[in-house]
């Protein structure tokens, strides 16, 4: 973030701004990563690897729609389980060696 660095002394607003931007950037990156994973998973589940046709078949289209819906359901479920465990999650992070 070169323009931030250029901006001499870091005032209160500037560091707030930097924090906002950093968060927006991270959010964008996370969205991109999620979309990538989702696409990969649903491609594997729904697209036949024989490629006799360049269009999505009816079956492939419907499968894709359902796959996306289920992916979000599973994501929400896992997210809830992890936050319910709160500490267990911290434990999982603590199982991470050498902090």
């Amino acid at each position: 973030m070169s323009f931030l660095r250029a901006a001499g002394g870091q005032s209160m607003e500037q560091s707030q701004m930097a924090a906002n931007l950093a968060m927006a950037e991270r959010e964008m990156e996370m969205m991109g990563d999620m979309f990538h994973r989702l696409s990969q998973l649903c491609h594997s589940k729904c697209i036949s690897p024989r490629y006799l046709e360049e269009h999505l078949s009816k079956g492939e289209s419907v499968c894709t729609d359902r796959c996306v819906a289920k992916f979000f359901d599973v994501s929400a479920m896992v997210g809830k389980m992890l936050s319910d465990r709160g500490e267990a999650m911290a434990a999982a992070a603590a199982a991470m060696p050498q902090q």
Partner: protein, 94 residues
């Protein structure tokens, strides 16, 4: 994502970041397509040239990949919108 809470200067900077992100995203899509279509279509190593069959397979694979991504993108966006509405309603209710 809603960025209306950002200042004008922040939005200008974000614009630049978004563009860099798109380049990176395009590279990722390109690499993902090559990996996927190479893996699925190239089976015969008795020649170093692509056979007509492999050629057709790669073409279909690329087109199908893009159509699939587009469809996933539509559903993805719809889900995001739904989730945001739900969050807003919950915000109102409380």
């Amino acid at each position: 994502m809603d960025f209306s809470h950002l200042s004008q200067q922040e939005q200008a900077h974000l614009q630049m970041v978004v563009e860099q992100n798109q380049i990176k995203e395009s590279m990722r899509i390109y690499n993902t397509i090559v990996d996927r279509c190479f893996t699925d279509c190239i089976k015969d190593m008795t020649s170093s040239a692509l056979s007509p069959k492999e050629n057709t397979c790669v073409k279909n694979c690329v087109n199908k990949f893009l159509k699939h991504s587009e469809r996933v993108g539509q559903r993805f966006t719809e889900s995001q919108v739904l989730m945001q509405q739900k969050q807003m309603e919950e915000g109102m209710a409380s």
